[in-house]
């Protein structure tokens, strides 16, 4: 029993899953809505959700899902019609932020109450992974159509918890959904997501016992909180990967030697020690460690300032001056910048830090008005295709704002997306990772875990690598 109080840093913005792209919302959706296919707690494979089982046609175009017996929180049954509606809605609704990701869906039809048939336009290996995203949570067609815009505030849930109260800017109060098909599994009476923007305050609230748990423990406080006998600090593996974006379109940065030199000149260990207090590992691939198709043996460049200097010299890039775009107000970003500035200075690269407010930095990155900038990515779906496409797929966003071009990689990415054979896919991704590394599309910096804290009295407060909290298993003593 009991209500779990969790502190988070940002307010929810909506409860209509197609209308948000924020992690802050996704993590709440995950416990309010069920999806056809779930990602398991280890974050490495898919498991059945509302779909008991599914079959894929040999050409990879037709998916047939068998839905289990389940109910929405309002007591009405969850049918294949609702599932079809939800899938088409995320593709077609004008308010949907995810329409593009589901373009591959040609049709979705309910054959009967428990059978859903989805046809794709082209084969897509990541499709099942996509169905695990909170954005395509199964919604009640009746509720959505009858409530219209108001649905975003009074949702009908298909997951473990339902919305009881939403005090904007203050808290989101969820209570147990008795109609959830796994209701027996849920121990908590409810969950309160409480918004505490200030990191210090959030931690102090847990320390004082006003919160049962809090997410986003600042790196700097992990060691100290670990010492607190009343608290447990959870460092759960994540899909977060930090990297240094390089704008290949800017002069000398177009030269591979120069980018290599930057990689050699950056002491990832020092960043891990100083900025994230030793709580991470140096990254050797753009795919997060432990994630699907991660190549553990991907070659990494060691810290070697001498080699960096030599490379710069051969490339004729002595006296290189770079503008380093920093997200103002982001502590990790600012500290990384301060550190990198000093490290790069050692190899003769002058770094000018340009701090801009986060609302602006996206624009500047997209417009290409930067030389280097630290950034990170966490996966939304299990499959590496999403990230790979954005980062190396040569689509409209200039390979994630880097202007990296290598047509071989482009072809490989497309090929991997359509390849349904897992071993062949693995080989393709290994090749992609190696090429990206060789080309230095960006500089991989480090992998770091999710950092959450809970009181001793809380059990099973875990987050899977995709960010989903398994609150249906959490126990408050």
């Amino acid at each position: 029993g009991g209500v779990l109080m969790i502190g988070k840093d940002q307010d929810s913005t909506t409860f209509d899953p197609i209308k948000s792209a924020q992690n802050a919302d996704f993590w709440v959706f995950a416990n309010m809505y069920d999806v056809l296919v779930r990602v398991d707690p280890t974050g490495t494979k898919l498991e059945p959700g509302l779909a008991e089982s599914w079959t894929v046609s040999p050409d990879g175009l037709v998916y047939t899902f068998k839905l289990r017996e389940a109910k929405f929180s309002d007591g009405s049954p969850i049918t294949a019609k609702d599932a079809a509606f939800s899938l088409l809605r995320i593709r077609d609704d004008k308010g949907s932020l995810w329409a593009d990701s589901y373009k591959a869906v040609a049709t979705a039809e309910a054959k009967d109450d428990h059978t859903l048939v989805v046809t794709l336009k082209t084969p897509s290996a990541p499709f099942l992974s996509l169905l695990a995203m909170p954005g395509v949570s199964i919604l009640s067609e009746k509720a959505v159509t009858s409530e219209g815009d108001a649905y975003a505030e009074q949702p009908v849930s298909s997951g473990a918890f339902t919305l009881k109260q939403w005090a904007r800017g203050d808290k989101v109060v969820l209570e147990k959904n008795p109609n959830f098909w796994q209701a027996d599994r849920v121990k908590l009476d409810g969950v309160q997501w409480i918004i505490v923007a200030d990191d210090n305050t959030r931690m102090l609230k847990v320390q004082a016992g006003e919160l049962d748990a809090a997410i986003f423990v600042p790196f700097s406080r992990v060691a100290e909180l670990k010492k607190d006998p009343n608290l447990v600090v959870h460092l759960d593996p994540s899909t977060r990967e930090d990297h240094l974006l390089i704008n290949h379109a800017h002069g000398l940065l177009g030269k591979k030697e120069v980018r290599e030199a930057l990689d050699y000149a950056i002491d990832k260990k020092a960043i891990i020690d100083t900025v994230i207090f030793g709580l991470g590992e140096a990254a050797n691939s753009y795919i997060p460690k432990g994630a699907l198709y991660y190549n553990a043996d991907n070659p990494a460049r060691p810290y070697d300032p001498e080699k960096a200097k030599a490379l710069l010299a051969t490339a004729g890039a002595t006296n290189l001056t770079l503008t380093y775009l920093v997200n103002a107000g982001n502590e990790v970003d600012e500290q990384t910048a301060i550190l990198l500035q000093q490290q790069l200075a050692k190899v003769g690269v002058t770094v000018t830090i340009q701090k801009v407010d986060p609302g602006q930095s996206w624009n500047m990155l997209v417009d290409g008005s930067y030389d280097i900038s630290a950034n990170y990515w966490t996966n939304d779906i299990l499959d590496p295709d999403e990230k790979t496409t954005f980062v190396l797929g040569h689509d409209s966003n200039n390979n994630y704002m880097t202007h990296y071009t290598n047509l071989t990689v482009k072809a490989l990415v497309e090929q991997a997306r359509g390849e349904m054979d897992t071993t062949k896919r693995a080989a393709l991704y290994k090749q992609i990772q190696e090429t990206a590394k060789a080309d230095v599309n960006w500089v991989d910096l480090y992998y770091s875990p999710y950092r959450n804290v809970s009181r001793k009295t809380i059990e099973h407060f875990d987050q899977n690598p995709l960010g989903r909290f398994s609150l249906e298993d959490t126990v408050k003593n």
Binding site: K94, D149, G169, I194, K205, A208, W362, S396
Partner: protein
């Protein structure tokens, strides 16, 4: 009654100010580089999606059209739709007004409760050790940034002593009051330093004033003179100082609300600036403006009530 005549005209004077504020806010928020659609969609997006969102919120209209739409909405008592929350701005702000109001009023009250005795003590022991101590202490109150002061108070009173809640905004009245003590105190410490300074100066001036001398010549004790003559006369400039500082005070709530996790207007405004939620920024700025003007009118009413000579 005619001393309060200004109440009839003030609302009309308000109009040009509000119009000016609407224009300034509009120009200001639109000049901040950055694109709300892009922020909403996050990094993993396509130009199509961007265009769709822009169209949905009318961001693709020419600026002046957007401004007139904003004004037109305003005249109809609407403030537009929040880009982030996708609902009416009025609804976004609805439950946030109270905490900020309580914070501002509470800290003003607390600041007065601190400043008046401190200033009285300092004024009455002018030039002596106590006076200097008060001066140094109040400067220190002003010298530490509020976010630091707030954290210190939390650590002291809530984590170590456990007598007050750490942060947040409670549900019941008593709960809310308990939650507001520390944030109000944080603002009040800085505000009272400002107030005490001016109050002390006013009191010293009043203590040396002719009418205080006359009261002394009537054989009144210093305490009676202070209570009956000096204090009331010192309040007028302080009221006005408070009114002038209202913008500063509301600005201060922005930080305090964040430190103390108070779901108020200040946090909303800052977040909306960063997420380029134009409509919310405009709406909240207008509300703050109205509040400021109302406070100033209140200050005028108070001044008129306290000082019979004034008629505005």
């Amino acid at each position: 009654m005619h001393r309060y005549r200004f109440l009839l005209f003030r609302p009309f004077q308000l109009l040009p100010v509000l119009l000016g504020i609407s224009l300034v806010t509009f120009v200001l928020v639109r000049s901040i580089p950055g694109d709300p659609a892009r922020l909403l969609l996050g990094p993993r997006t396509t130009p199509d999606a961007l265009a769709k969102i822009r169209a949905q919120f009318g961001l693709d209209e020419p600026l002046w059209v957007q401004y007139f739409l904003f004004l037109k909405n305003l005249l109809q008592g609407q403030m537009g739709t929040s880009i982030v929350y996708r609902i009416d701005v009025l609804r976004v702000t609805a439950n946030r007004i109270e905490p900020t109001l309580v914070l501002v009023l509470g800290s003003t009250l607390l600041a007065l409760l601190i400043a008046v005795p401190l200033a009285s003590l300092a004024a009455r022991s002018r030039g002596r050790v106590l006076d200097h101590v008060i001066r140094v202490v109040s400067t220190a109150g002003l010298g530490f940034p509020p976010f630091w002061l707030g954290l210190m108070l939390i650590i002291g009173f809530s984590v170590k002593l456990g007598v007050l809640p750490v942060a947040g905004y409670g549900d019941s009245l008593a709960d809310k009051l308990a939650h507001m003590v520390l944030p109000c105190l944080t603002i009040a410490l800085a505000l009272s330093a400002v107030l005490a300074r001016s109050l002390r100066a006013a009191m010293i001036a009043q203590m040396g004033s002719n009418h205080a001398v006359a009261a002394r010549a009537r054989g009144l004790s210093e305490a009676a003179i202070f209570r009956r003559h000096v204090l009331p006369n010192s309040l007028v400039p302080t009221i006005n100082l408070l009114a002038v500082n209202i913008g500063w005070l509301i600005g201060g709530t922005v930080v305090i609300e964040s430190v103390f996790a108070i779901p108020g207007m200040g946090q909303l405004l800052v977040r909306s600036i960063f997420s380029r939620d134009y409509m919310v920024v405009q709406g909240v700025a207008m509300m703050f403006a109205v509040a400021t003007v109302v406070v100033n009118i209140l200050a005028d009413v108070l001044t008129v009530a306290v000082d019979p000579r004034v008629s505005l």
